[in-house]
Each structure stands twice: as structure tokens, then as C-alpha cells.
Symmetry: C2
Subunit: 144 residues, 2 copies
Amino acid sequence: MDQRLSLITLGVSDLARARAFYEDGLGWAPLSAEPEIVFYQLAPGVGLALFPRDDLAKDVGEPLAAPGSAITLALNGRSVVEVDQTYAQAIAAGARAVKAPAPVFWGGYSGYFADPDGHLWELAHNPFCEITPRGETLFSGPSA
Amino acid sequence: MDQRLSLITLGVSDLARARAFYEDGLGWAPLSAEPEIVFYQLAPGVGLALFPRDDLAKDVGEPLAAPGSAITLALNGRSVVEVDQTYAQAIAAGARAVKAPAPVFWGGYSGYFADPDGHLWELAHNPFCEITPRGETLFSGPSA
């Protein structure tokens, strides 16, 4: 599995409240903002998403633990094959299979595993984002 | 607050087990490995640390929630003053004050706030790591 990171997703109970905190409060500018999810491009080539907890639980496919625990880390592969290979590697390494990689409604391909402490990793192929040779994941807005 | 990320810390219940998963299982190479904490440099200029849950709770200054929730996000400032300013901004924006920034035993300066959903952000100045003009946080090993 590449020693990289693509996206951190924070599950939130009130998306408007969370946006107000990060944007009005901290001064962040969203890359894209839809009613159901907001993306921020962070400077080192990593994305951060605010996503309703309930939707995140559905995406993961199992209930999330206590408040504050609704965080997933994602590694985007350069292809569907790479996602499958990395998922198989993680399971072989002792990860708990949470959701086998499969096509998802937004046009990508995604699965989840849990590390030995229960931390959720999403493995995804996102045809709408670029992974640079240096390993940075560059997200593009919905219209790009 | 800069739209950047420096470090993700995963609280783990068994550091040896967690290292075996990420290193032997997934093939990651540590940047530095000490008995109490292990750092990995991720490709986009972000670090990931494995740190015992109990130690992380002490560092945060309050009990962590359920298993799987022991994740902190860190933003490293370029100076102590920048850390203080960002902390004040976050509190003014409605963040919960968890630990006011103060000098810490490892030679840096660190504080924590919780966002509206309880996600823990550490604000730190680490004199041993470099922040590039592009915002990447480059960690160095203990002997560097």
C-alpha cells in the first residue's frame, strides 16, 4: 500500500454548522460545496471533506462509533486494479474487511477496511482527481 | 488558520501490533521508530504517527472516546506566535478549548481544540520539522 494519503473525511452532525466553523471561523475556502458534502483542498495535496455522519455511516456500511470518532482516511489508487490489489494486501495483512471495493454512485470505485485498532481506511479510485508523480492528490471541483 | 495539514495521529492499543500491520503487512517504512511513538512520512508532505491510546489521551488531556475514535489532526505553525494566533482564532470561531498551547516535553509547543463535532485538532510548533513554502510538513528523524 502506497505510503500516501488522499483525503480525510470528518463526519459531522450539522453540515451548515461545520462549514460555518471552518469557513467563517477559520477562513478556509471550499473547493466545492454541494448540499451533501463539502471539499477543501489542503496545501500538501490532501483533501478534507465535511460529510454528514449518517451519510458517512451509510458509505462505510456500518454504524460509526461515538461522536468525535467519525473520521475516515482515504488512499486513492491510480486505477481500479490498484484499489483491488491494495485491499487484498490489507486483508492479507490482518485488516478487517468492512466493505469490498465496488463501483459507487459518484462514478468512482471504493472499499473500506479497518486497521487493528478500528481506524477506517477507504481505498478508492476517483476518475475526477489527479495523483501527481509526487503522490499529491489534487481534487477538482464538480464542474472541472 | 492555514488550509494545511501536518500530521495525523492514530491512537493504538498495541504499538507492536499496529507497526506489524503497517510495516510488515502494508509495506510502509518508518521515518523514526521509538519505543513510544513511530512516525511515517507520507508522500504529500504529511506525517502519520502511531501512538499508544493512553499516551494520546494524556497528550490531549482528556479521555478519548470509543475505539476507532482515537485520531487527531495536527497543523504545525511556523512559530509559537502563529500557534497562539491560530488557537485564539479557533476559540473565537466556537471551537472548544481542550488544552491551551504550552511548551511540551519533546521541545515543541502544542495545544488542542475540538471542532463543533468533537474532532481534535492539535496546533503545534515543532522546531524539528520543516514547513516548505508549498505548505508541506517535512518531518526529520530523531537524529537529524
